[in-house]
């Protein structure tokens, strides 16, 4: 039997010390009828060699983005991850450590979380970040719950252009509460500012806007800020792609109250969409209302600087039914990947990634829009992702392109954008790949 150290002889010895004869004696107090009578319908145990072969084989049944050139985005992006990131996150010191409850033997974990919090604050311009959330969607849902706790209002306005899965997660998270959700419609790739203006009133707890939004377009956050904050109590929740913040105004510059997002782009693989990395940051005044773990710096009695989990009285293990959230386990190791990634890329590298993604995405956009059967879906500015209107049904294009070695994009038809396709480009795509892609698309039209 793998993974058990004790021998039969030792077990016998231990049972004797306990004062019983057999293992069954230890279960004497449990009613007999509780035990399962039938044997479980599970396959015979495999050896390490056998399971290794089986997993390899199963993994090869998938077509991965090393084999097929991917233009897929919508929240998960194929950015480059330096080898050094995986080297660090594979270290057992980080990998198989528990939550840093005993600070004196967890300084490695606590310090990187402190650095992660700092990096997220730097990127967003906010005051305080937590140690991570499950993903962008649950971070958004928790931001809404925090806003409701804060101002006790009952209405949430959400951009119709946030990720569709996020809408669904938010719906689940608020389903048992007395909260109304209204969506602000799209107008040419961005939210309809006039509609937002009409909808804002004193019942609104918070407004959630994603920028770049689901269609890749950059929202006019300064106008949104002035509308939302025309009411003193309403909170502006901004959802951002952290890499985009190397280029565009920091959320603090448009007075966002809570900033959340999906951090997968920071040094994490695509992983079929999990694990992901939610981040959560806000203003100093709201620190005690935040969900999740927070690391703070302190010192020992010799004055040596160290780190601890702090403000724990917000959390479920202390505050129980009055906790700010029920979150316990988070995505710590993904936050470590993000921390190491940002350290390696640094100020210059992360800017370069944002810039190259932008340039390449726009290069592709210009080329596609010259093709017959393709036109821009809107006229708004975009970062690394854009939507095009297609003459042929997107699902047909996607199917044919797949055969030619491309994941062409995401069919937006099921999300309410008929005959539109969402295309993402990261710094990883080469000019050759992009040109090939365009040529293949052209082939689709019989040119």
């Amino acid at each position: 039997m793998p993974f058990i150290s004790n021998t039969d002889e030792q077990r016998k010895q231990m049972l004797k010390e306990i004062g019983v004869d057999t293992f069954a004696d230890l279960l004497n107090g449990i009613p007999k009828e509780y035990f399962t009578k039938k044997s479980l319908n599970l396959s015979e145990p495999l050896s390490e060699m056998e399971i290794a072969a089986q997993i390899s084989k199963l993994s090869e049944k998938n077509r991965n983005t090393n084999q097929i050139i991917s233009f897929l985005g919508a929240g998960i992006y194929d950015h480059f991850v330096p080898a050094a990131v995986n080297y660090i996150i594979s270290r057992p010191e980080f990998y198989s450590a528990y939550t840093p409850y005993q600070a004196e033997v967890s300084q490695g974990t606590l310090q990187f979380i402190y650095e992660f919090q700092t990096m997220i604050c730097e990127l967003t311009g906010m005051d305080v970040a937590n140690a991570s959330m499950y993903d962008g969607a649950t971070a958004a849902a928790e931001a809404i719950l925090m806003a409701i706790r804060h101002n006790r209002r009952k209405k949430i306005l959400i951009s119709d252009l946030i990720h569709p899965s996020w809408k669904e997660v938010i719906k689940t998270y608020t389903s048992s509460l007395d909260v109304a959700i209204d969506y602000i419609s799209e107008k040419d790739g961005k939210i309809d500012i006039q509609e937002l203006k009409n909808q804002i009133d004193e019942s609104v707890s918070a407004v959630l806007v994603q920028t770049p939004n689901f269609l890749g377009c950059i929202e006019d956050m300064k106008s949104i800020d002035s509308i939302v904050h025309s009411d003193k109590k309403a909170l502006l929740i901004s959802a951002v792609d952290p890499i985009s913040l190397m280029l565009f105004n920091a959320p603090s510059e448009y007075n966002a109250d809570i900033v959340i997002g999906e951090g997968q782009v920071l040094g994490n693989a695509q992983n079929l969409g999990g694990p992901l990395l939610g981040f959560f940051t806000t203003k100093k005044n709201f620190a005690r209302k935040m969900p999740g773990r927070i690391v703070g710096a302190t010192h020992d009695k010799n004055g040596q600087k160290g780190y601890v989990l702090t403000l724990q009285t917000r959390e479920q293990h202390i505050r129980r039914d009055n906790a700010t959230s029920n979150i316990c386990t988070n995505e710590s190791l993904c936050a470590l990947a993000a921390t190491v990634y940002i350290a390696l890329m640094g100020k210059k590298g992360l800017y370069e990634i944002a810039k190259q993604s932008t340039i390449k995405a726009h290069y592709l956009f210009d080329k596609i829009c010259q093709l017959e059967g393709f036109e821009p879906a809107n006229h708004s500015q975009f970062f690394k992702e854009f939507a095009v209107k297609t003459a042929e049904e997107p699902k047909e294009i996607i199917e044919k392109m797949k055969k030619n070695g491309f994941f062409a994009g995401i069919d937006l038809t099921p999300f309410g954008y008929k005959n539109q396709m969402l295309i993402a480009v990261t710094e990883k795509r080469t000019k050759n790949e992009i040109d090939d892609y365009v040529n293949q698309l052209k082939g689709k039209d019989g040119n």
């Binding site: 058990i4 035990f35 991965n64 998960i76 005993q102 689940t172 280029l247 640094g346």
Partner: protein, 482 residues
Amino acid sequence: METKTIFEKSVKGRTGFSLPKCKNAKDIEDFFPKDILRKVKPNLPEVSELDAMRHYIEISAKNHFIEKGFYPLGSCTMKYNPKINDIVNILPGLTNLHPFQPEDTIQGALQIMWELQNILQEISGMNAVSLQPVAGAHSEFAGVNIIYNYHKNRGNKKTKIIMPDSAHGTNPATSALHGYKAIEIKSNNEGKVDINTLKDAVDSDVAGFMLTNPNTLGVFETEVKEIAEIIHSVGGLMYLDGANLNAMLGYIRPGDIGFDIVHFNLHKTFSTPHGGGGPGAGGIGVVEKLSEYLPYPKIEKRDEKYFFKYDMKNSIGKIHTFYGNFLVMVRAYIYLKMLGESGLRRIAENAVINTNYLMTKLKNYFPVPFQKDVMHEFVASGEKFKQFGVKTLDIAKRLLDYGFHAPTIYFPLIVHEALMIEPTETESKETLDNFIETMIKISEEAESNPEKLKNAPQNTPIGRLDEIAAIKNLNVKFNFDN
């Protein structure tokens, strides 16, 4: 030794990245108007790759981790994580998959998830399983949301959820998130749910009962079937917090003893690494009548093809952007395929024997108030050392000096000065004997030299940290102005 932050190691102009040149002559200003462009760039580190590696390796050395030493953290099931599980990290056919890829390009991934659903169903005796929750508390969220929606559909969403006073903090927190009043009922003198107290607390407003079994005292709730009958008699649902599933693997199936909803912690029971606090993976199993309430999509199989099923009429909806923590699921799948039924039973046996052995050897030094039907963990009390001015916290810190991680402390709340000890099945008798010897030594030190405990730890990378100061002078990010 204090390690400076990565920000303090930054040298202006130094870089640690390598990217191909982009020959396109355009610049950012060519694409966007000035007013949306960021003027002041964020303060990010400027270090070489070697700088970064030295830095993170240096701080990593300050961590305790399972390959370094024993982790007797109650409720956390810190078992060894077999290294074969981590084969997933190097297979691009698992890591480099995009969640919007066409289904026919992820058949291997879907097969793993589908098989894992089935294995967990079989182990738990449930009718359907969703792998979407990514953590225990996330599973609880799904579970209580199912309870809420189930009752709502039946026309009465009810107002209360009951749980023992030994419950994990996530249980009341999750109930409250759904607007339910969390009713905690007192445990009896065996540390179990008191049936009479329960009967008095139960009425038609009870939506459900959340129970950990074995409970957080490590004690098996031997009257769980009676409890289920009482809860079911008022139309309530039975929820098993599966944090302690390790103790009954292969022997007792929650579905056979009255539970309607069960959650799994793949990162505890099924050996996926904890990553310093995550990612974990949840998973939730339900009985037939609740199967359509699970989060969508579910993975199904038809004509040898695997696919996502979205059409579930009562589904609570999505709780994660995509399908849950796929990569963690694969690790658990590998582990489970290596165990089979016999392996599962060996886990339960060894976890229970190791625990009872530890308890037998330690109870004369650290009183254990609840000893009957102890399974995979037990809770000792440090109360008696108070007379020497020693608290449980001091005992915990002293253990760090001897190279052990401390047990979970001050939980459950019903044992004063609690030390909650869970050895897991993977530890050897030699490790347990070492731990026993050390604990006995500490109990002697508490009496003869209490200062030693109060000043502990001394042999760790840093001395005892001032948590009060951390709250008073909140410092949660590096200050670049200093």
